[in-house]
Amino acid sequence: MIEAAGLTVELGAGQAVREASFVIAPGDRIGIVGESGCGKTMLGLALMGMVPDAGRVSGSLTVDGTQMVGAGEATWQRLRARRVAMIFQEPMAALNPIKRVGETVMEPMMVHLGLGRDAARARALELFREVGIPDPEARLRQFPHEISGGQRQRVLIALALACDPGVLIADEPTTALDANVALRVTQLLVGLAERRTMGLVFISHDLAAVARATERVMVMYGGDIVERGATGEVLVRPRHPYTQGLLSARPSPGNMRATAGRRGRLPTIPGSVPPLAELAPGCRFSGRCPVELDVCRGERPPLRGTMICHRAEEGA
């Protein structure tokens, strides 16, 4: 169980995550979507206590009741793998190239659970079966370069599950995989979360994958959670102008027809996410927002219901 209240991550240049509040209960499946540079990964790292040395975390973050803001590395180390675990975007880079994958998966069990080599090996084998790795006996002895991207991501999932965590944070787990493999990895994560009543935080650009994997979703822009709600609700009837822009930029036949122009071009959100230091002090989305008001730039919109937007009442 993770509870965040006013969780803020400050990097040298500005706030990468601004006053995020949410609860992740056992079995919850929560998506985090948004463009690159919106603070999704930084939020994930904050939940692991792995914000870069230059960063400062404030607000409140409790993991199973323990306040973790201001906790030292040693305290976090006891929590990682057992309470919160994380898998990363690049399955190619996230495995030590000169270590057999079995050893990599066994290591945390030997360190955290005090298992002997044989017991750890048996459990690694069990985990490999659980995440659907074919011929697990042989896989244990292989090096990362000998197995495919999808299999490596499964190995990393096995590594994350090694100490039976309460919450699994998946940072763009499918981005580096082809569509077919991505779909199966997504299904695997959902299945695991359900079977183990484990919380799942699914960070992704891929709205379709988020729709498939999660029950609730948080949309991030410039470090703010600008909109949140049931996944079906938010992705079908987006209310925040940013979410609307994000969804209409999705390539689909409907979107192509909806736009003017002879060729039917895909709509985009004009501009790009500005660097942290250049974000507007008020609404982070001001400057790119199609329905901007005068107050937006200078004054920070309050959280109203499920949205952070000056026009929340109008249903924007």
């Binding site: 990682r80 975007q89 000169i98 290591e107 994350a160």
Partner: protein, 272 residues
């Protein structure tokens, strides 16, 4: 199978020659290298004395063999000693970061600036000259070299995603340093060790030449060179033989180090 670079092959052959000679001297030399024969001094090369005899009638070839053993032993012990301490400090600096890293690296800078010869003279003044003094002095100058190479390589590894994954799996700094960082920086460290080996052999020769290393009757290439110096016009070959041995050993280890770097550094492979 790609072709091995020629410097690797030549270096390996020369190193094998020196190491083989040193090993052989443990069990066999043509003569006892300490045996004096004043009447047979300055003998020219013959079937009995392959490279002749020196000013005291000792067999030069036997002396060179035993000296090889001394040189290799001093280089091996000092580079290992300096290497282990230097690598440990480099790993520690990289793992801890911040103030700890700064302090360790600034101390390493001071160590770099400190002349090894001065340190050896100081040690010799306190403990008396011996091979041990040479070993400690050479080990000492190796510590900052290894600390720097290790830290620079380790800092790169600490930013890799698999280190993040290991941290996310709850591994501590010590475990990550040992299991993930060290194995992945072994290549540059081994290359550095080979090059340091060459420098160590040269340093041992220099220290012995100055009388700070091997003491009589223990033969050493450097000491043979210094003894032959006064006889340069009478018997130049006595200076040439140990000189050639030093050149062979240093060249061998340097080429081996270069060759190893060539095959382990992908950036250099592409250039060729």
């Amino acid at each position: 199978m790609t072709r091995l670079p020629p410097n690797l092959i030549i270096g390996a052959v020369l190193v094998a020659l020196v190491a083989g000679t040193a090993a052989l001297s443990l069990v066999w030399t043509p003569h006892d290298h300490t045996l004096l024969n004043i009447r047979g001094k300055f003998a020219p090369p013959s079937e009995l004395h392959w490279l002749g005899t020196d000013q005291l009638g000792r067999d030069v070839f036997s002396q060179l063999m035993v000296a090889a053993r001394n040189s290799v032993a001093v280089a091996l012990i000092s580079v290992c000693l300096g290497g282990v301490i230097g690598v440990a400090l480099g790993l520690l600096a990289s793992a801890m970061g911040g103030v700890v890293e700064d302090v360790i690296m600034r101390i390493a800078d001071i160590g770099f600036a400190f002349p090894a010869l001065l340190f050896a003279i100081m040690l010799a003044a306190v403990f008396g000259p011996s091979l041990m003094v040479a070993i400690i002095a050479i080990a000492f100058i190796n510590i900052p070299v290894f600390a720097r190479v290790t830290r620079a390589s380790a800092n790169q590894i600490w930013t890799r995603e698999y280190v993040y994954a290991a941290r996310a799996a709850g591994m501590g700094r010590v475990t990550i340093s040992r299991d993930h960082v060290l194995p992945n920086i072994a290549a540059p460290i081994i290359v550095q060790a080979t090059i340091e080996f060459a420098i160590a052999i040269l340093a041992e020769a220099a220290l012995s030449y100055l009388g700070l290393g091997a003491q009589p009757p223990a033969p050493s290439w450097g000491r043979m060179l210094s003894e032959a110096q006064t006889l340069m016009y009478l018997a130049p070959q006595l200076a040439i033989y140990p000189g050639l041995c030093i050149v062979t050993a240093v060249l061998g280890f340097s080429l081996l180090g270069d060759g190893l770097r060539d095959i382990t550094d992908p950036r250099l492979v592409r250039q060729r």
